[in-house]
Symmetry: C2
């Protein structure tokens, strides 16, 4: 196993609205430094380059995001950015990237990973990926399952056959459970959060697509033929428009007979809302995370985020308030109760409904 | 009684900190449109000009506020703005203004009124003032007492002898009570809020000052002598520095044997905090008062105030929050729980303590 036979596909086409007003159509979650450091997609790349090298990273994103994505990853070559003309969910996204890699090396191992999460324990994460790469190299499509820390109802789960060791056999994928089932999952020890991380040989994934998503396989075949003639770009829009919009989970993974899972607990956060971002932020003794100079009188567990582009001096003062998230951009101010963070998307919808397109 | 024999002295030297970040040292409460219309001092003047005419209005303010005060009252002549070189509380403030008026007309009736309150029922207020003017013209110093609507512990009270009719006799002034006493006051019907409104003949007030504050009377006499020689401005700093800093209540009113009070209920608000400002604001069906375009998802009884000077488009969104006051200026953002509004002054103190003088 050489590093040169390992590739990463970072899926960076998301357009979430939960981080409004920081996130916008042209600046979605993965382009924001929500983990407290750099843009999430940049951190996602930095986590895997020790495993595959910078030259073997592909970013799968939308055409309207290519420029902004490239701007936060200037070390990548333009051909490493795969710009989907229209969003078609993760199966076409991964399929196109894998087909592209397979043209160079069908035996390459590919890590298909999300771009918009946070991982605290980098070494733990890389260890799981190394285990998964070894497993994939043996011809088994492999996923990473997050060991649950609480009975979460917002994620899908992966059930594994009981067993020990760093690699388990997947029994089934499970949709988001209700609280009662989530508690059972947590207690059983055989259920893991599905974090959308898949590791496989390129040829194995293409074969699985051929079997389970023949329509997608046909489209990828057209792209391969065109690529051989240097014409891929010319037919991309036409082919993508005809691809089925389906997730890799529903379209492929759930139908594969033999699948492995590498359980891991490496401080993973899906960064699903401002609440989650607040949990990652550096806090003072009162639980407040805010820019230097913020004045807090009798307030706890507040998160203040200043994403204004200008450098104008501005002070924020909080008096007698707790559990608030306050986010400022140049053109918007959001104040949301932490536990209501999931509902920020409703603001985006309200703005769309009234035609305030420049604000969404 | 002609209008020309009635004067108004609007006391506009206050420097409250409770309306930070809208209020600043150079832009105190009375210069802000906190009642939802124009600057409070301008509204205070507009309320009395039907009774005394614009030419008979004096504004008593601090020297550092003269320019800004004149800017919101461009119809006044410079000599109608009395600029105190140093703040010396209300007795010297009123004394100097009354001495100035008495040089023109010692029999003039003077209404000494605050600049930083809100009054909803203009006709009711003017009716009380007319009654008080008539009473003052008979030689009795008169105050207006606000009929209490609740057992307020934040105001001083005026107790009147039991009686009916538009004019009662003052029995005594009472300091801010505790809640138990405030409830008794409310129940008795003989107690009124002291709103700092005094109506009197100029000669009567000067005589009272002569009796009860001889040190102030001596200073005013010096100013009179200098004014007769056209030299008042030259000695003003020197004289003011020597005047006793005492309120008209403690220094004069509480010692006067015969004093009248005109009770009134005319929608008076002392605008003591953002909470009070919120009560005056126009609200939607959910109790929210906010600029047009504000998005509120599941929130009630919030007040949003935008006092930024620029016209840049900006949207405010509130999600899952209630009873908040949000105030934006160019250089500050305040988020305060309504009931904590009284504590906003602590922010100003914190900013002073750390040397952020440009923000206070």
């Amino acid at each position: 196993m050489t590093e040169r036979s390992v590739y990463a596909v970072i899926m960076a086409g998301g357009s979430g609205t939960r981080f409004w007003p920081a996130s916008r159509r042209a600046r979605p979650k993965q382009l924001l430094p929500l983990g407290g450091g750099e843009a999430l997609v940049r951190e996602a790349v930095a986590r895997v380059t020790p495993l595959c090298g910078t030259a073997n990273v592909y970013i799968a994103t939308g055409r309207h995001l290519v420029e902004a994505t490239g701007a936060v990853l200037p070390e990548l070559q333009p051909e490493q950015l795969l710009a989907e003309p229209v969003p078609r969910n993760t199966a076409p996204c991964i399929g196109w990237a894998v087909a592209t890699i397979a043209r160079r090396d069908p035996d390459a191992v590919v890590m298909a990973l999300p771009s918009d999460t946070h991982i605290r324990d980098l070494e733990g994460y890389q260890g799981c990926l190394r285990t998964a790469i070894a497993e994939a190299r043996s011809g088994v499509i492999t996923t990473i399952g997050i060991e649950p820390t609480h009975p979460e109802t917002g994620f899908g789960y992966i059930e594994a056959d009981p067993g020990a060791g760093p690699v388990l056999t997947v029994k089934r994928f499970v949709e988001k459970p209700d609280l009662e089932r989530a508690k059972q999952f947590l207690a059983s020890g055989n259920f893991f959060w599905n974090a959308g991380m898949f590791i496989f040989r390129a040829r194995d994934m293409l074969a699985a697509i051929e079997t389970h998503l023949p329509e997608l396989a046909a489209g990828l075949s057209e792209l391969d033929d065109a690529a051989a003639r240097g014409q891929e770009a010319h037919i991309l829009d036409d082919v993508f428009a005809r691809l089925p919009a389906v997730s890799i989970d529903h379209g492929v993974m759930e139908h594969i007979a033999k699948l492995s899972v590498v359980p891991g607990r490496f401080g993973w956060s899906d960064l699903g809302s401002w609440l989650a971002a607040g949990e990652l932020a550096t806090k003072d003794g009162e639980g407040n995370a805010a820019p230097d100079g913020t004045v807090v009188i009798d307030g706890r567990d507040n998160l203040v985020v200043d994403m204004r582009s200008g450098q104008a001096k501005r002070v924020v003062a909080l008096v007698g308030v707790s559990n608030l998230v306050v986010v400022e951009t140049d053109d918007a101010l959001l104040v949301v109760e932490r536990e209501a963070s999931q509902r920020v998307g409703q603001v985006v919808q309200a703005l769309k409904d009234r035609g305030d397109d420049d604000l969404v």
